[in-house]
């Protein structure tokens, strides 16, 4: 999304909901990502190893799913360089082949003399609604 489509701070309200995003942890794409980052942790590419550790499938690296969280918020705001801070908690593993649903809303809108910012809470869930990851993304406005 381009800069011209940027939401204005004044047009955002606490409680605003962002469009949901559904993503599948596609095997071919994720394994290509592993090659790109030269992943060495077998938990992220070796199914037998993952199962020996008690996981039902290859566990998708948190940093991969991390990529989609600021993107969701930046796409909504319309500015790909607007995120100032991200806090993220990995609650449950995300498995290769699974679908995830990202839901987000504006939980706080603040301003002081110098700065204006919003905090968006992003919940990543599986298709049954079980929580996988929670993040708080802070977006700054000039």
């Amino acid at each position: 999304m381009g800069f011209d489509n940027r939401l204005r701070f004044e047009d955002i309200q606490e409680g605003d909901r962002l469009p949901e995003a559904r993503l599948r942890m596609d095997r071919e794409t994720y394994l290509a990502y592993n090659r790109l980052v030269r992943e060495i942790n077998p938990l992220h590419f070796d199914q037998a190893y993952a199962r020996r550790l008690g996981f039902r499938e290859i566990v998708v690296a948190g940093v991969y799913t991390f990529s989609f969280i600021p993107k969701m918020v930046e796409d909504w705001v319309g500015d790909s360089g607007a995120v100032g801070r991200i806090e993220i908690q990995y609650r449950n593993p995300i498995y290769l082949g699974d679908a995830i649903v990202q839901k987000a809303s504006v939980r706080k809108k603040s301003a002081d003399q110098d700065n204006k910012w919003i905090e968006c809470e992003v919940m990543v869930e599986d298709e049954e609604g079980n929580p996988l990851t929670r993040a708080v993304v802070t977006v700054e406005f000039s």
Binding site: M1, G2, F3, T29, A32, Y33, L36, V37, R38, E39, I40, N41, L53, A61, G62, V63, Y64, F66, S67, F68, I69, P70, K71, E74, S80, G81, V83, G84, R85, I86, E87, I88, Q89, Y90
Partner: protein, 153 residues
């Protein structure tokens, strides 16, 4: 060394510190091919990044991640039997400036920020906060990326 920590915490932290020190400062690659493939795999708009001279927010985080793999591999090689498992539980990333495509090379440095001894249902573990700092070519810190791991012992 933190004087308030127990002897075992100080000893464990000293061992971790040796591994962290050995990793040193890394240079991060930022080239167009890498960025193009990252954008393809994560749904980012490569042409838009190029036009605005911006790196996607997750891009550098993706390429700082292997420093942790290197660190944990070193733990298992240099400190055999000390750590039985690693769980990544949380992270906080703070950006102090824009991530520019043309501003590289960026450099990253790893540090231990906090270490606490914990006990749970499955035994004892250490909660350790590691910080990856990203510096631009002028040595300005542009990203602080703090990760919390539970290290089972």
């Amino acid at each position: 060394m933190d004087e308030t920590k127990t002897g075992s915490a100080q000893a464990f932290q000293a061992k971790l510190q040796e591994v962290v020190d050995a990793i040193g400062v890394k240079t991060l690659p930022v080239d167009l091919d890498l960025l193009k493939e990252y954008c393809r795999l994560t749904g980012h708009d490569f042409a838009h990044c190029q036009a605005r001279d911006l790196l996607p927010t997750g891009f550098l985080m993706t390429f700082t991640s292997p420093i942790f793999s290197e660190m944990f591999l070193a733990f298992f090689v240099k400190l055999p039997k000390l750590i039985k498992g690693v769980i990544h539980t949380a992270s906080q990333v703070e950006f102090f400036g824009p991530l520019r495509l043309g501003a590289g090379p960026y450099r990253e440095k790893l540090a231990i920020r906090n270490l606490e001894e914990k006990s749970g249902k499955k035994g004892n573990y250490w909660a350790v906060d590691f910080e990856v700092s990203l510096m631009d070519p002028e040595d300005r810190k542009i990203v602080s990326d703090v990760h919390q791991f539970f290290l089972r012992v």
